[in-house]
């Protein structure tokens, strides 16, 4: 990541699901600085919430003594319209391959009376690219949103 061309925002939260409100407030406060449609910003907040929730529950057992780091990169200065926003969720938990994860249809989820498996489908519908990476013990889920991209938000 070329940090010199991006404005970078960082936040560390603990892995209790009660911290999700803090996650949403942080992402919302960053996005509010830019010239984005409210609806677009709300869906980006939702996608970050979903990935953080997934990491907290499945890679950290909601342990409040463990943490996630959120990093947001924006390619323009505040008050401008970004072309690209990058959201990274970094932690020391086991990596999960969200990229290859086959999302069930909503009809399957209903038929099987499931309450899970919905969030990652939402993330894939909202974000233009998702990448995963593990280096030096740190798992990174990177979500890229192109404003005016192909995803319908």
């Amino acid at each position: 990541m070329q940090n010199d061309t991006y404005k970078v925002y960082r936040k560390k939260v603990n892995c209790s699901i009660d911290s999700l409100k803090e996650v949403r407030e942080f992402v919302g406060s960053v996005l509010a600085q830019y010239n984005l449609k409210e609806g677009d910003a709300n869906l980006m907040i939702l996608a970050v919430d979903e990935v953080c929730c997934n990491r907290m529950e499945h890679s950290h057992g909601c342990n409040p003594n463990e943490s996630l780091e959120l990093v947001i990169y924006v390619d323009v200065s505040p008050r401008q319209v970004p072309h690209q926003l990058i959201f990274e969720i970094r932690d020391k938990g086991e990596i999960f391959n969200i990229v290859d994860y086959a999302v069930p249809t909503i009809e399957q989820i209903i038929k099987e009376r499931k309450r899970g498996n919905i969030g990652l489908g939402l993330v894939k519908k909202i974000m233009d690219k998702i990448q995963i990476d593990k280096r030096e013990g740190i798992s990174v889920c990177r979500m890229i949103k192109e404003i005016g991209g192909t995803k319908a938000i």
Binding site: I17, N42, L43, D49, E50, C53, I110, R115, I118
Partner: protein
């Protein structure tokens, strides 16, 4: 998130306000389970005060839609904001869930389902 319960004739109305996320959805799920256990199977959900919903909140409903299909549960949601509706639409749930505009619409919807189930 806050829940408020009111009963009007046969209708068990749950008013949800605030954020329905992974942390708070358990409370709504427990309330629905408890209502059905008490024999309250005609349930209206008032979402007019709901500010935010994420997948665990949606899961509270997807796990029960088969019970609605089989006539065990009569459920309708009303008062959904544009912001929350956008999430339902993204999943295609706006066509699969009983989402109505007003409380009266929701009552009429449930009444028509009850009539069909008696046929």
């Amino acid at each position: 998130m806050e829940l408020q319960i009111t009963e009007e004739q046969q209708y068990y109305i749950i008013t949800v306000s605030g954020d329905l996320d992974a942390s708070s959805s358990v409370k709504l799920d427990d309330e629905l389970t408890s209502a059905v256990e008490k024999g309250k199977n005609v349930i209206l959900i008032d979402f007019s005060g709901l500010n935010y919903i994420s997948s665990p909140g949606i899961g509270v409903f997807t796990s029960r839609l088969e019970d609605c299909e089989s006539g065990k549960l009569f459920l309708a949601i009303y008062g959904v904001s544009d912001k929350v509706m956008k999430v339902f639409k993204l999943l295609g749930l706006d066509k699969l869930m009983p989402i109505l505009n007003t409380k009266d619409d929701a009552k009429r919807h449930v009444q028509s389902l009850q009539k069909k189930s008696k046929l």
